[in-house]
């Protein structure tokens, strides 16, 4: 049985960070208004990065691992809740983004707005999943402090990398590779491409989760 209270804990311990994250999202909508789909990818990745790292920092500061693992709960569940909390943060950030861009569009502000599409949503999800999927096993191995710098590098490379690729695909030139890619993509419906990408991301997350559980099960607290 999943203990959703563990996710609510992540929300509770960082009410302020989540609100700050929403403002940060708003800032990115303004600052990166020419980035097209990149606006959302950068925004949602930065938002998730902010709240996830704060939650990990808080676990470490309070040495909460000792308390959590003294409760009748499996270590694999503690790990699972961390992964699920990312989904919650991602969805709440996405909703906030849609709300802000919707309001701004109708506000008459002179600003270029990227309205979220399914493709953008998917690209954001892949970006966030890549970041946390790589980060969590490292976090569960060495803790927050020791993984800080690595995490920062990861964050910047992923959000710039994924938004670059996403933009590149959107404005593809006509070289051979692109034709091939375009051919493959064209032979599939958008829906099936989305399903494939989503499935790959979920598989990646499951593998990452498996590694994290193995690491955390052997961790000495």
């Amino acid at each position: 049985m999943l203990n959703l209270h563990l996710i609510m804990k992540d929300v509770l311990i960082q009410k302020k960070q989540i609100i700050f994250g929403f403002f940060y999202l708003l800032f990115i909508i303004f600052a990166f208004q020419n980035s097209d789909v990149g606006t959302f990818i950068i925004g949602i990745t930065a938002f998730t990065y902010l709240v996830v790292t704060y939650s990990c920092a808080s676990e470490e500061k309070n040495r909460a691992d000792v308390m959590l693992n003294s409760l009748p709960v499996k270590r694999s569940q503690i790990v699972a809740m961390k992964y699920l909390s990312v989904v919650i943060f991602f969805l709440s950030g996405t909703l906030a983004y849609m709300l802000f861009t919707g309001l701004l569009k109708n506000s008459g502000f002179n600003i270029k707005i990227y309205m979220l599409t399914i493709e953008g949503f998917l690209a954001g999800f892949i970006s966030v999943s890549l970041m946390t999927g790589i980060y969590f096993p490292i976090y569960f191995k060495v803790g927050y402090m020791k993984s800080r710098i690595l995490n920062l590098i990861l964050f910047f490379s992923i959000f710039t990398g994924v938004s670059y690729i996403a933009q590149y695909i959107q404005h593809m030139d006509n070289n051979a590779l692109n034709k091939l890619l375009a051919g493959i993509l064209a032979s599939q419906s958008n829906f099936s491409i989305a399903v494939i990408l989503l499935a790959l991301t979920v598989i990646f997350q499951l593998i990452s989760y498996g590694i994290s559980v193995k690491i955390y099960n052997n961790r000495e607290l």
């Binding site: 311990i13 808080s58 308390m67």
Partner: protein, 290 residues
Amino acid sequence: MIMEPILEIRGLRKEFKDFGLKGIDLKLDRGYIMGFIGPNGAGKSTTIRLIMNLLKKDGGEIKIFGKDHVKYEQEIKNKIGFVFDENHFYEELTVSEMKWIVAPFYRTWDEAAFNKYIRKFELPLKKKIKELSKGMKMKFSLAIALSHNAELLIMDEPTSGLDPLIRSELLDILSDVIQDENKAVFFSTHITSDLDKIADFVTLIHNGEIILSMAKDDILNNYRIVKGGKEILNSDIRKIFVGIKENQFGFEALVKDKNQVKSRLGDKIHIEKPTLEDIMLYHTRRAQNA
């Protein structure tokens, strides 16, 4: 019916780079309080963390409620109340938020009991944990530990850093808990006067080894401090001493068996009752000299 011990440790080993538990044994029955004493770094916290499976043992066996502590971990932890020396709750949360997170983990959470302890300890539900004093934090831990019908309380230095008034309050609460003969308390401390008041059994650990583990009354009835002139000391006599302090006027030593020393030295010596502090100091000093 013979009841199984509530906590039984056999041959427990754990290796670190510079320290290790060298195959320790201990046993605690229901209805009793065991004090786990020893100097800092003796292995008290390591033992407790191994019992809680926070650390992985390298060898030996730990049984709680007669069951393997890893195989039946969830079932066992449901019936354990724990209090650690330092706060491990989220400092950013209020008392009631923290309770709200912890309570659902326990199948047998008793909200009425929790509210009773909140009132008794005068804990402010709306205050953040970081705003509580050290004593209040400990009381909050204790309120959680006592509110899910735990049968075994495991406490790592619960009294350290507390003022004497709160310490004595805590000890009274533990005495109260143990009125229910189905329960037991295992707590570590380096303050031996805590044990004078409430412990039924005393286990002394030093350098990762159990030096003694027995009923407190047996210890206090049999151990004695002897004092006398140095002229009576010889190698045979020294053998019966647990530890000895010598100066230019004479010696002071601890013996395990008052009758043995009386029959050997009779009225050449002065005999006194030791405190648990004396017993711990003599034992650990001897080990240091060995």
